[in-house]
């Protein structure tokens, strides 16, 4: 039963995209920002080819997740047909461009190709964010504040991976840890803005409950823990991976929850603008007064 006459009703969890779609956002976000971050860290040189390969594999893994989810897998290349308006098409093109640029750099050794791949990877991350925003049927996704949040989350994931890679080789630089903490704070700020916008909207109750639980993870695991661990690294360098793992896990958890649990559909509602008159001859703004 709807509580008021114009309340939304009939909301339920979307069943169209599952953990595989979340996998694309997690792997694609981490891979693209790992690529961009490694290019930035090595600039003006080209980064280690193994890092670029790992980044491409992550992006590719995300796309494979999506490929396994579509209904007609052998028509997958039809995804390229609509770059005019579809962010999914644009994401596919940018992924191909990123791969081509890395391949070009690998064959020629021309560093600017790797730099361009880094920029393309950032564009890929942006496309992922816009994919969610364009889903007008899901209140938790269409909120415009989702775009900076997804981008910030991706950047944190990428830098976290860089910290882990650096730890495997030596102690990560203080600049890298500073970047991680700064991005973690930026992500939390984006999260607060997103939450505020969602709280001000008529979001479904289930979405609110899921976002409440994500809030705790974002604060303690995604922000406080990385900041504390990064600070302690000054005294105990071996603790650096904890900062990265915490930041990484919080971001992946957020995306998984966003896709698989917070994504309630719009539902139905009676329109609260009751009008009288032919729709094509009505003057804008003059309509509602006739009815109530």
């Amino acid at each position: 039963m709807t509580r008021t006459k114009f309340s939304r009703f009939g909301t339920s969890h979307q069943t169209s995209w599952d953990w595989r779609a979340a996998g694309n956002f997690i792997c694609g976000g981490a891979g693209s920002s790992l690529l961009a971050g490694s290019v930035a860290a090595a600039f003006p040189e080209a980064p280690d080819w193994r890092v670029l390969l790992a980044a491409l594999l992550l992006i590719g893994a995300g796309l494979v997740f999506v490929w396994t989810e579509i209904g007609r897998t052998w028509r997958a290349f039809n995804v390229l047909f609509h770059p005019q308006t579809s962010w999914m098409t644009r994401e596919a093109y940018v992924a191909a461009l990123t791969g081509a640029l890395v391949a070009g750099w690998a064959f020629t050794g021309i560093a600017p190709l790797a730099h361009a791949a880094g920029l393309a990877a950032l564009l890929f991350l942006y496309c992922q964010a816009r994919i969610l925003k364009a889903a007008r049927g899901i209140p938790a996704w269409r909120e415009p504040a989702i775009v900076p949040l997804i981008v910030a989350t991706g950047l944190v994931e990428g830098v976290s991976l860089l910290v882990l890679i650096a730890t495997a080789q030596e102690v990560p630089s203080s600049a890298l840890l500073a970047a991680l903490t700064a991005l973690a704070v930026l992500r939390f700020a984006s999260w607060l803005r997103y939450r505020a916008r969602m709280d001000a909207s008529d979001m479904p109750p289930v979405t609110r409950r899921v976002l409440d639980s994500v809030s705790r993870g974002m604060l303690w695991v995604g922000t406080v823990a990385p900041l504390a661990a990064a600070g302690l690294t000054l005294a105990v360098p071996a603790i650096a991976p904890l900062a990265a793992v915490a930041a990484l896990v919080a971001g992946a958890h957020f995306k998984l929850q966003l896709i698989t649990r917070a994504a309630q559909v719009q539902g139905y509602a009676l329109g609260n603008k009751l009008r009288r008159g032919h729709p094509l001859t009505m003057k804008p703004g003059a309509a509602e007064a006739t009815a109530r």
């Binding site: 039963m1 709807t2 509580r3 008021t4 006459k5 309340s7 009703f9 009939g10 979307q14 169209s16 995209w17 999506v66 989810e69 579509i70 209904g71 007609r72 028509r75 997958a76 039809n78 995804v79 390229l80 047909f81 609509h82 308006t85 579809s86 962010w87 999914m88 098409t89 596919a92 994919i131 364009a134 889903a135 007008r136 049927g137 899901i138 996704w141 994504a263 559909v265 719009q266 539902g267 139905y268 509602a269 009676l270 329109g271 609260n272 603008k273 009751l274 009008r275 009288r276 008159g277 032919h278 729709p279 094509l280 006739t290 009815a291 109530r292």
Partner: protein, 215 residues
């Protein structure tokens, strides 16, 4: 110009689901897929409770979010406003389904029939492999509309040129017609009655109008 729309009179609808049944019969949709359905809506809190029945389905928006996001161009829009899906192009990514604010789209991954023993004779004849693994939704019975127009009939007036749901409605609650024609049945209904459209704030410009006289 032509702009086909549907008008649903909430004061007339009795929730009999005849439109739902006629849609399923006409379009041979499998169990669980309802291109047209009627919601039983209860509003308010005891003892101030109201109840109404609300037909829903694809709203054939002028600015359809499903078409905007579709990566394969399978979702299209005809000049008369009817939103279509090309089953031969669709990749079944379901992006349209999450973009639609009206829960109008379905994807069936494997053949489904009414009984576990297999398809009935009718189901076997009418089964369409092309609809498996792709998006599907109400078409406003575009094939009926086109066939009727080819015979010189008027959609919304002549049953052979009118969507099955509107034909079947026992309460005359569903009316189909051309919004651009000021003399059409839908134009007259909208001119003479109060109406709303669902989720207008999302900017979809839906082609589904609900007549409602608040009591």
């Amino acid at each position: 110009m032509t702009r086909y729309v549907m008008v649903a009179d909430l004061n007339r609808c009795v929730g009999c689901q005849t439109c739902t049944a006629s849609c399923k019969h006409t379009n041979a949709t499998p169990p669980g897929v309802q291109w047209r359905k009627v919601l039983d809506v209860e509003m308010g809190e005891y003892p101030n409770v109201e109840r109404l029945f609300m037909p829903v389905g694809c709203q054939h928006c002028s600015d359809p979010p499903c078409m905007e996001v579709c990566p394969s161009t399978a979702t299209g829009q005809r000049k008369d406003g009817i939103v279509t899906i090309d089953y031969d192009i669709c990749i079944g990514c379901s992006y349209c389904a999450v973009a639609c604010p009206y829960q109008a789209r379905y994807k069936v991954e494997e053949p489904r029939f009414a009984y576990s023993s297999g398809p009935t004779e009718t189901e076997a004849i009418r089964f369409d492999e092309g609809r498996i693994g792709v998006a599907q939704k109400c078409t406003f019975c575009a094939d009926r509309v086109d066939a009727g127009l080819a015979k010189g009939l008027t959609p919304g007036v002549d049953p052979d040129a009118t969507p099955a749901c509107a034909n079947a409605c026992i309460a005359n609650a569903l009316t189909f017609g051309d919004l651009e024609d000021p003399d059409s049945n839908v134009s007259k209904l909208l001119t003479d009655n109060t109406w709303f459209r669902m989720h207008e704030d999302l900017g979809t410009d839906p082609g589904f109008y609900y007549l409602w006289e608040e009591k």
